[in-house]
Every structure is written in C-alpha cells, then in structure tokens.
C-alpha cells in the first residue's frame, strides 16, 4: 500500500458494464513525507468517501479488485482507506 492525495474526480461518459457502479478518483501518489512522487493515476474508491484534497492509501493490481464491494471488479488501482495522520518518527525517536 502507498500514500496518495485525491486531486480530482473522474466523470466517465461511457464505461464497461463491470465498472458502472465504481467511483473513480484521480490520485497523485505521495512519498512518506506526503510530497508528490510519481505520475497521477485513477483509483477506484473502495471507501466511497474520499474526495479531492483527501490523503488516502491505495493498492494496485489484484488486491485493488478486492477493495470494492461487490468485489472483483476489473480495476488496477483502488483506495483502501482514508488517512487521518501520517507519523514519521524523528531521527531521535528511531535511535
């Protein structure tokens, strides 16, 4: 799982039937300091509660297909949860 920030909502004009009930969000992947890292991707929202600005964590590949209800829809990236807080231990805490 990796961090991401929702940067937009995707409104499809036409979709395959299997994806018709799936909310799609545009997500910018983040590093652990919550800074953008990599190219944006479209995630299916397994929580159905994420929105623009929200920090989330997401999974890819087969696990993404399991994050939704009903499960096993054909998606490759999906949001598993919303992030309240990311805590990075300080150097002193780690030593």
């Amino acid at each position: 799982m990796l961090l991401g920030r929702v940067i937009g909502t995707v409104v499809p004009a036409a979709l395959v039937d299997e994806l018709s009930a799936t909310p799609l969000l545009w997500v910018q992947p983040l590093n652990k300091q919550c800074k953008p890292d990599g190219d944006p991707l479209v995630c299916a929202d397994g929580t159905r509660m994420a929105g623009p600005g929200q920090i989330i964590y997401w999974v890819a590949s087969r696990e993404a297909a399991l994050a939704l209800d009903p499960w096993f829809v054909p998606v490759d990236d999906a949001i598993v949860g919303l992030v309240d807080n990311v805590h990075n231990y300080t150097k002193e805490e780690l030593d």
């Binding site: 799982m1 992030v83 231990y89 780690l94």
Partner: protein, 91 residues
C-alpha cells in the same frame, strides 16, 4: 519477502473492514547494506513490530490473504517477522 525498517505509522479511521483493529506501519525498504533505498511501503502489522525495528515484510497478495485468513482482503504487504541480524556473506 523484503527487508524494511519501521520509520512511522499511518492512522486511518475510515477504511476497508480488513484494516479494523490492525496497525499500519510505514517502512523504508532496505538495500544490501541495510540502508534505505528511498522507496517505502505501508505494511499491515501482524506481530507487534515497533519503531526503528528491521522487519521482514511479505509483499505478495495471496500470501498476505492467507496470513489474514481472509480471501477477499485487499492487502499486499504484511509485516511477518522482526529481524535480529542480517549477515552479509562474502561470496
């Protein structure tokens, strides 16, 4: 499996039911010298790993589902061991 070092945690209240009651840890991936590679991973804790510990992370979905005993868990990375020492061979 990969080696990682726990450098933080992620707090989440709204999430997939499989995350209920489980801890999400931030781990740096480690290279052959035990230094961070720059990549990180969010892994689900199964054994009570804590900050700064070197851990063994299973980064594969079907194994993770087996450990979670949930065939529909959308989880790929789980912390499955705490590492005492890694010995680097000279071969």
């Amino acid at each position: 499996m990969i080696l990682g070092r726990i450098t933080g945690n992620v707090v989440s209240t709204i999430h997939h039911p499989v995350v209920n009651g489980r801890k999400l840890l931030l781990a740096d991936r480690l290279d052959q010298n035990g230094k961070p590679t720059g990549a990180y991973i969010i892994a689900m804790d199964m054994i009570g790993a804590g900050k700064g510990e070197t851990v063994l992370i299973l980064d594969e979905g079907s194994g993770a589902r087996q450990i979670l005993d949930d065939a529909s868990a959308p989880v790929r990375s789980v912390v499955v061991g705490i590492v005492d020492e890694v010995e680097l061979g000279s071969g």
